[in-house]
């Protein structure tokens, strides 16, 4: 049996009862976390531009455009909801794949349209994570890393396909149609709003492919693993065993890492170190003489990646050739914010803060170095640690080590609080609490009811 066929059979045959309760709980956590990220972005000018542009010739349909009172057809609603989930890099990942920003928008939009019950919605979320996690692992050794891993044409098609009730052959068709035009991102797009489309584009292809497969469009049976197929096209290195080994036994969603800050995942622990130092010690940011971040190489890869731009990020932001986006991958700027304002929130990536000369000056005092032990912990054990040392003018040396990020398995943060702070400003305290209750008890509610509860008045 081919990998695609095995996967399609598993997706078709999976029952809610087969899923361990702790994985169902993770699916609910992911729902809360991604909804928070989406709602936090929904008032941003880039979000409004995307929604206005995508509904230029009319809105309407069975699926909710979250954070608004608008609806659209499922692929458009999911496209926009994913854009908002990515706009502040405030989402999550399983294994190495940023799953939540594809799986949750797909499952909500298609589930609402298909009027599935809450158990089926939760099952589809688990399926989507499983496929994102496994395909991400399969191409982990290639050139792409993190959010740029090009694997979501698989998980979106199968998530949508399951919700639409496709049979095994139709699921094979859906995923193969979705993967036919294999998408990869152009790395320079990470300095503008383009980056927020990184999951939206595969989502629309995945949902449309599932809808067409439902009505008889025929796709290949083996596009995922074919030697000239999807994974071989998007990656130099492919480990096909990752696709189906222990399928139904090892659950990708159990590795869920939800972000406590709007920042690239590689940099979360460095920010956490900075926040702990700032909250536990009394000092003004002008007293800081030097900051050194010791971290795995992956943190330096992300955290210095835009330090060669000419003009630099700040100037490009001022000139409009870049948005806030590269600063979400930086270490010096967000760490300067954390040390100065003792918080890191989406508001800190707005013009008022980005153009604050004091933050830019402090960012220049921050350097990064690879630490051998933290590097080993990342590359061999997938632990995301950092150590930050702050030297003050009065001679004090403040140091903090975080061995793995908050939001990692076994090191949770308060996702519900993030949910309320993101959703309540749009739906009101009562409306947000009602949505949280629905999600807590989703097994007894439906996707349509959840979608309606998520509509702004």
């Amino acid at each position: 049996m081919s990998h695609t066929q095995r996967i399609a059979s598993w997706v078709r045959g999976l029952r809610f009862e087969d899923i361990p309760p702790e994985c169902v709980a993770k699916a609910k956590d992911q729902l809360l976390n991604i909804l928070a990220a989406i709602f936090m972005s929904s008032g941003h000018p880039s979000s409004r531009a995307a929604i206005t542009g995508m509904t230029l010739y009319g809105a309407g349909g069975p699926s909710t455009i979250l954070g608004t009172n608008l609806t659209a057809v499922p692929d458009v609603a999911a496209y926009l909801n994913s854009f908002n989930a990515q706009l502040f890099e405030f989402e999550d990942w399983v294994n190495a794949s940023h799953a939540g920003a594809t799986v949750i928008p797909t499952a909500l939009a298609v589930g609402e349209a298909a009027r599935v019950d809450g158990r089926e919605l939760l099952l589809a979320i688990v399926v989507g994570n499983e496929m994102a996690g496994r395909t991400g692992r399969a191409i982990l050794d290639g050139a792409y890393v993190g959010n740029s891993l090009p694997n979501h044409q698989v998980d979106t098609a199968l998530t949508a396909g399951r919700l639409l009730g496709l049979d095994v052959r139709q699921l094979q068709s859906a995923v193969s149609l979705s993967c036919f035009m294999a998408m990869e991102c152009c790395p320079p797009g990470f300095i503008t709003d383009a980056k927020a489309l990184i999951n939206s584009v595969p989502i629309s292809q995945g949902i449309r492919s599932a809808q067409m497969a439902l009505h008889g469009l025929v796709g290949n049976v083996d596009m995922i693993e074919h030697s000239a197929g999807y994974l071989a096209t998007v990656s130099e290195e492919v480990d096909l065993d990752q696709l189906t080994n222990n399928l139904g036994k090892d659950w990708a969603i159990s590795t869920l890492r939800s972000k406590p800050f709007p920042i690239c995942g590689y940099n979360i622990s460095a920010i956490e170190c900075g926040l702990q130092i700032a909250r536990e010690n009394a000092f003004g940011s002008e007293e800081i003489e030097e900051v050194v971040v010791y971290a795995p190489a992956s943190t330096l890869l992300a955290g210095t990646r835009y330090h060669s731009l000419q003009p630099d990020m700040y100037r490009q932001f001022a000139e409009g050739t870049a948005t806030h986006m590269p600063l979400l991958f930086d270490v010096p700027y967000p760490l300067a914010v954390a040390l100065t304002h003792r918080a890191l929130l989406p508001v800190h990536f707005t013009r008022e803060y980005i153009q604050d000369p004091a933050l830019a000056a402090l960012a220049k005092k921050i350097t990064l170095k690879v630490d051998a032990q933290l590097n080993y912990a990342y590359y061999e054990d997938f632990r995301f640690g950092s150590r930050v040392v702050v030297r003050l003018r009065d001679g004090r040396r403040l140091e903090k080590l975080v061995e793995d990020m908050p939001g990692a398995p076994g090191n949770p943060f308060d996702v519900r609080s993030k949910f309320m702070s993101g959703v309540a400003p749009v739906l009101g305290e009562e409306g947000a609490a009602r949505v949280a209750e629905l999600i807590d008890d989703l097994e007894r509610h439906g996707a349509e009811e959840l979608g309606h509860a998520l509509r702004a008045s």
Partner: protein, 122 residues
């Protein structure tokens, strides 16, 4: 103009031999056994093979599996550890051909690791 790349790679060669297992792990391993040609625009060039036993540095004009070509100023920045090769790629000043992305991206991480880890250990 004094040589830049030769002294740099010869300088990290011993560190590589002693520490490469702590540097090239997990998803970076596909770099092992591959060779990259490093060039300074209008200047020197050499080819480095990233081997398990050591860095094999040659000036014999071989092409390598990939080529990293950038200005002296950008090389100085990379050699300092402040930025990685990929930072220069993303700034649009170093070619990144599709068929060479794997060795370039892995070498970028590995070289910044060596430079900054060696400095941190001092």
């Amino acid at each position: 103009m004094p040589e830049l790349l030769g002294p740099f790679f010869e300088g990290i060669s011993e560190y590589w031999s002693k520490n490469h297992r702590a540097i090239v792990m997990g998803r970076l391993r596909p770099l092992l056994g591959r060779s990259v040609r490093f060039e300074v625009e209008d200047g020197e060039s050499l080819v480095v093979r990233f081997g398990e036993r050591g860095l094999d540095i040659s000036r014999n004009g071989a092409r390598g599996d990939a080529c990293v070509r950038m200005s002296r100023a950008d090389w100085l920045d990379v050699i300092s550890g402040r930025v990685a090769i990929m930072s220069v790629v993303l700034a649009g000043r170093c070619p990144y051909p599709k068929d060479q992305r794997l060795p370039i991206s892995k070498a970028s991480v590995v070289l910044q690791t060596i430079v900054t880890m060696r400095e941190a250990a001092r």
